[in-house]
């Protein structure tokens, strides 16, 4: 039921996303532009500009929501989230470090390669920290440090680039955007993200067992090292590929699992599909809002998600002092 509602929300919001844009296209020409030939300009606008944007919002939202739910399950930490613990900012830095230095020419493939490496390294680092000290707070503080460090390094690389436009792109890498993405970005990111989803979903049973702690999970036949590997690779693929084409978009993976958790039996595995669909719906909605809030000037969608997510995070932290999630 919950999944059906969220799936429907994704469908409706995808359609809405396709209908929003600076060019005034009526419903009929939008529809014919999307599916058939029709008026040439309408066709190009729908198929080459709005469709990739909607698809990326949906799939990146799915990646972030799913990765958030899985990381919370693995770390048994309700505040774990790719953005908060520094995974997205590390992915940004990885992409920036390889792309702007021109190491791989101006090839777009440099972006996901760097982002995946950055994201994977950060997850490994965070797991190592969590293994030494499992406290919720330690992980969040380590994530804050990692976010600051990689954010600063990202800015540094962009400032040092001789290309005068690079420094204006700092904001994109810190607070992502889906503006003027194309189908080539979709083909670049979607296969990697989809592979990431599969790996993350494969960890579902293990996450349930981990609710009882690592020892109990092991005694239930869960191989912890294999589970960690699944999550590291899955998060790196899903979050890294998304960040490579849209910059760092935060808080989706924090907000969505919390919103859907009360409607589930709270087993981590039951949370995965609703979090993924909810993430897709939330990012689609945020991206629509980013285009509509200030009609003349489009906002970065990462700014909007942070505006929603950061107060939510604060509220969670305050509430956490009173009860245990």
């Amino acid at each position: 039921m919950l999944n059906a509602i969220l799936g429907l929300a994704c469908l409706i919001l995808t359609a809405a996303s396709l209908l929003v844009g600076p060019a005034d296209l009526d419903l009929r020409s939008s529809f014919s532009g999307l599916f058939a030939g029709g008026d040439e300009a309408a066709m190009i606008i729908m198929q080459e500009i709005r469709l990739p944007r909607a698809l990326l919002a949906l799939t990146i939202g799915i990646s972030l929501g799913l990765a958030g739910a899985v990381l919370q399950g693995l770390l048994r930490n309700p505040l774990a989230e790719p953005g908060l613990i520094g995974v997205t900012s590390s992915a940004s830095f990885g992409a920036v470090a390889i792309f702007y230095t021109g190491l791989a020419g101006a090839s777009l493939y440099a972006l996901p390669a760097g982002a995946l490496a950055g994201a994977a390294l950060s997850v490994v680092l965070l797991l190592a920290i969590a293994a030494r000290n499992g406290a919720t707070l330690t992980l969040i503080l380590a994530g804050v440090a990692l976010t600051s460090l990689t954010g600063a390094l990202t800015s540094l690389v962009l400032n040092l680039s001789p290309n005068p436009f690079a420094s204006y792109e700092i904001i994109f890498w810190l607070l992502g955007s889906l503006r003027d993405r194309s189908m080539s970005h979709v083909w670049l990111a979607l296969p990697l993200m989809a592979l990431g989803w599969l790996l993350l979903a494969a960890s579902a049973r293990a996450l349930d067992a981990l609710s009882l702690g690592e020892e109990a999970a092991s005694s239930l036949g869960i191989r912890l090292s294999a589970t960690r590997l699944l999550v590291v690779l899955g998060t790196a693929l899903a979050v890294g590929a998304g960040t490579a084409v849209a910059g760092a978009i935060g808080f989706i993976g924090l907000v969505v699992p919390h919103l859907v958790r009360p409607f589930t039996d709270r087993l981590p595995s039951s949370l995965l599909v609703p979090s993924a669909l909810g993430g897709g719906a939330l990012l689609l909605a945020a991206d629509i809002a980013a285009r509509l809030v200030v009609p003349t000037r489009e906002l970065n969608v990462g700014v909007l998600t942070a505006l929603i997510g950061a107060p939510f995070f604060l509220w969670l932290v305050v509430r956490a002092r009173r009860e245990l999630f």
Partner: protein, 345 residues
């Protein structure tokens, strides 16, 4: 405040013509200090152009010419001496003034140019700029080099400019807003400032002649063109590119749509208006940026009736200078190719 008298302490002060038309011909009367902008007025333009122009030569770092200039209304406080016949030594801190100085000044006159003068996407004369020392637009550099005149753009480095004026350096600012018609005035003004009036007059009148010839090739067929720069920024009304597009006989779509200066234009708008020509920028190959990717967006390539390319020689319309004529020429030839003035298009 032009022609300020020497102040009571007898320090050097500055004569500053305030508008383009208000140029004093008394070239030797002004100590020039030139300052640099970070970015050119129009962003990078496209296309490789062969390098040419005057100003080739090797800078002699120690000419021993530490001197004070006698100005008609100004008494220099500098104590060093030099022959009065010497021309002013100039430091340019803006990529646009760099190129005017390169065209007009003697090699020995040039103290340094801005470091952007080497950027091929901004500086048409980047090869000519190579031999000279470079500055990065800081007041300290001016203070150490003690040029007679600093030239800079009006657009940025305000703090540097006012600091230099406080320190009694002569600073001349060149306007950011340019059009094909203001360029001859700017050439003559720079010529006057650096004591190269005759050379400036030759270049300016040749430019005026060429511009008039190209304009004469216009007709009633006016295809639409748009300059679509990095990040989807268009060059609208009031930009140099707008006047180039107009002089070449095109209608600038950005201006038609009511865009002025440098403004981002949503890609959807560009697609729905289907301009005949889309002028994009050639990216820096060694330093990629996402900003360049807009030129490769599949939506642009899908426009079947539009011609998209880097039609303007690289750097030719980034700054006001005689080389802008090359941009007008390239676009005029392109227009005649796609829409002949012959009634049948």
């Amino acid at each position: 405040m032009r022609g300020c008298p020497a102040d009571r302490e007898g320090r050097r002060s500055v004569a500053r013509p305030s508008v383009l038309s208000d140029i004093s011909p008394a070239r030797a009367e002004i100590n020039l200090v030139l300052a640099a902008d970070n970015l050119p007025p129009c962003g990078g333009a496209v296309g490789r152009a062969e390098t040419r122009g005057s100003g080739q030569g090797v800078w002699q770092p120690r000419g021993g010419r530490r001197r004070a200039m006698l100005l008609t209304a100004i008494v220099s406080a500098l104590s060093s001496t030099a022959p009065a016949a010497d021309l002013p030594r100039i430091m340019s801190m803006n990529v646009c003034t760099d190129q005017l100085v390169l065209l007009l000044a003697e090699t020995e006159q040039i103290v340094s140019l801005s470091d952007l003068s080497l950027d091929p996407s901004l500086s048409y004369l980047h090869a000519e700029a190579a031999p000279y020392p470079k500055n990065s637009g800081r007041a300290e550099e001016v203070f150490l080099a003690r040029p007679d005149l600093v030239v800079t753009g009006t657009f940025s480095l305000h703090n540097t400019t006012s600091l230099l004026e406080t320190l009694d350096f002569a600073v001349e600012e060149f306007a950011y807003d340019q059009s094909v018609d203001t360029i001859p005035g700017e050439i003559r003004r720079m010529g006057a400032l650096i004591g190269q009036d005759a050379r400036a007059e030759t270049i300016a009148s040749a430019y005026e002649r060429d511009l008039a010839d190209l304009r004469a090739r216009q007709c009633t067929m006016k295809p639409t063109a748009i300059a679509y720069e990095q990040n989807g920024v268009v060059l609208g009304e009031g930009t140099l590119a707008d006047s180039v597009i107009d002089a070449a006989g095109f209608t600038n779509l950005a201006t038609e749509l009511g865009y002025s200066a440098m403004t981002p234009l949503p890609l959807e708008h560009l697609v729905s208006h289907q301009p005949d020509i889309v002028v994009v920028s050639e990216p820096m190959t060694d330093a990629p940026a996402l900003a360049d990717q807009i030129a490769h967006h599949p939506a642009l390539r899908a426009l079947e009736t539009s011609r998209i390319g880097a039609f303007v020689p690289r750097g030719a319309w980034a700054c006001g200078g005689p080389f802008v004529i090359e941009a007008v020429r390239a676009l005029t030839e392109l227009r005649e190719e796609i829409a002949s003035c012959d009634p049948a298009r």
